[in-house]
Symmetry: C2
Subunit: 325 residues, 2 copies
């Protein structure tokens, strides 16, 4: 060990405990007892999800610990964004080879900065020595009956995605080849991979407007079939409409950019099913968040996903990332 | 891989998805979307905890997968028991080297049998390939203001423990030396280690009677100082009063049994601070659960823990298990 041994309590206190926020945090009792005591406001439902990150599987072993801490919370916040839920609380199970103070400083900074940005209180933690694995459970709230599901879409709904797709896939390629070409475009793409931005505010804005939602964690080609299946509909996507960033265009061929946009995953943008009458309203809300909302297709009766490229049938060569595929 | 690849959804569905219980389960939307939607009943607080198990650290690598599944949930249920909370929901993040069908059958049987026994719905899951790590987040409820804390004890309270101590520590020793001596006593001790019983019903019964509670996961000598510190009191323990099972007496010297009872951990019994006026009532409730409640000492003003053995000052040679100590 490169630093003195730390007991679990001391470790959590030193790196992760923050002043509990005010009464509106809903935290009655935080870290330090057998469990936390939390208050869900009247008229609200509890929204819960879990996501684990494993070194070498979800991020390269060389990844900056600050990015790992950020990512571990971001992928969970993205799940709440997809439900239109307000994040409130998180618990963290951290397994690491050693209690290294420098590593923990960076990791906790990445985690806690994002937590504070979204008003999320860390209310439980467990640390163990072992291979690096980060498991985060996120808890949020939504007014009763308002949470967005994958299953709510209807025939005639538009398919919309936020932001741009494929940046993170490109960023990962560059990140794995560190030291990478230090152009602004490459830096921006690596930043998209290292510090994904969960679309929490857009998810909240989509409540009552979108009919279905999910987040794009495994790539559009892997994720969209799940929404279509859950809603019992057929999805039609015009691949030429996929939003590609100028940075991605600057470093990749059209075909490579398209493959990353369809299959690379880790974008953490929202995929929304949207009745056409709500497009203008949601687009305005997205604009206030400095986000674009691109219409990439629509839903009809039927099943499966039909991709076209400039009007011709198109078969994606890439498919969503599958941790056991 | 010794079995065909499984995608994550399919894997969770096949091994962990059960018919969602009735409306009283509080599950509005279970596994299969970006997050679960849950209902906390009016007038109740949400109680949340997380515990992770790592192979080779929390259990021997040779452990039966059914025991691992049971243990992963049991240690979390034990945290809720210590709060006097009613368990309701759990999420599971499972990292494993391969998607082996036999292993998953056993693991999920151990996990789900205990879940069903306590009416716990598994509402979220994440599976990844990697070193075996099992992280469970447990969610429960308690009427507002009723949750038991470590900090509520008062001077004059009795210190009580449920069941017997040290069995699990002995069981682990035998389990690590498999194949072990196949006597009924040894079998019973290994069973205590492999399949710990969380004292959920006793925790519920202690609500409104005990002034403070915690579960004994790291051994009395390691855990009691935390309760004393949280309550700002001094704990006095008469070591000869520690409840030792006939099975442990049958296989261990008095001194060895005492060491295990004080320091081995993994007992998952409850440690309670109890106003003397409530002893008879809680003991009767414990008896209805076929559990003994042993008075091992008391609390006074001051700080720290004072151990005696037959009246003489006693210094435990063993201390609680510390994952980074």
């Amino acid at each position: 060990m490169s630093s003195p041994p730390l007991d679990e309590f001391e470790l959590i206190r030193r790196y992760f405990q923050r002043e509990v926020f005010g009464a509106e945090s809903g935290v009655v009792l935080g870290i330090g007892d057998d469990a936390a005591v939390l208050q869900v406001p009247p008229g609200h439902e509890l929204i819960a999800s879990v996501d684990a990150l494993v070194a070498g599987r979800h991020f390269p072993d060389s990844t900056d610990p600050k990015s790992i801490g950020h990512r571990a919370l971001a992928v969970n916040l993205s799940d709440l964004a997809a439900m239109g839920a307000q994040p409130k609380w998180a618990t963290l199970a951290l397994t690491m080879p050693e209690a290294n103070a420098d590593w923990l400083n960076e990791f906790s900074a990445g985690f806690m900065q994002l937590a504070e940005q979204h008003g999320v209180a860390l209310v439980g933690g467990d640390t163990t020595r072992g291979p690096l694995t980060v498991s985060v459970q996120i808890l949020g709230i939504a007014p009763q009956g308002s949470a967005l599901r994958r299953s709510g879409a209807r025939a005639g709904d538009l398919l919309a995605v936020s932001g741009t797709l494929g940046d993170s896939g490109a960023g990962l390629q560059f990140a794995m080849a560190r030291p990478f070409d230090n152009t602004p475009a490459v830096q921006a793409l690596v930043q998209r991979f290292d510090f994904p931005t969960p679309r929490v505010e857009l998810g909240l804005a989509a409540r009552g407007l979108a009919s279905a939602a999910m987040d794009l964690s495994d790539g559009l080609a892997g994720d969209l079939p799940k929404l279509a299946l859950a809603s019992g509909l057929k999805a039609h996507v015009a691949v030429e409409r996929l939003p590609i960033s100028p940075e991605l265009r600057a470093v990749a061929s059209e075909r490579q950019a398209r493959d990353w946009a369809l299959g690379a995953g880790d974008d953490y943008e929202l995929l929304l099913a949207l009745p056409p009458a709500h497009l203008t309203t949601l687009r305005a809300a997205a604009a206030r968040l400095n986000l674009t909302l691109s219409i990439i297709g629509e839903l009809s009766s039927g099943s499966g996903v039909h991709f076209t490229l400039n009007g011709a049938r198109f078969a994606p060569e890439v498919f969503g990332y599958n941790h056991f595929g």
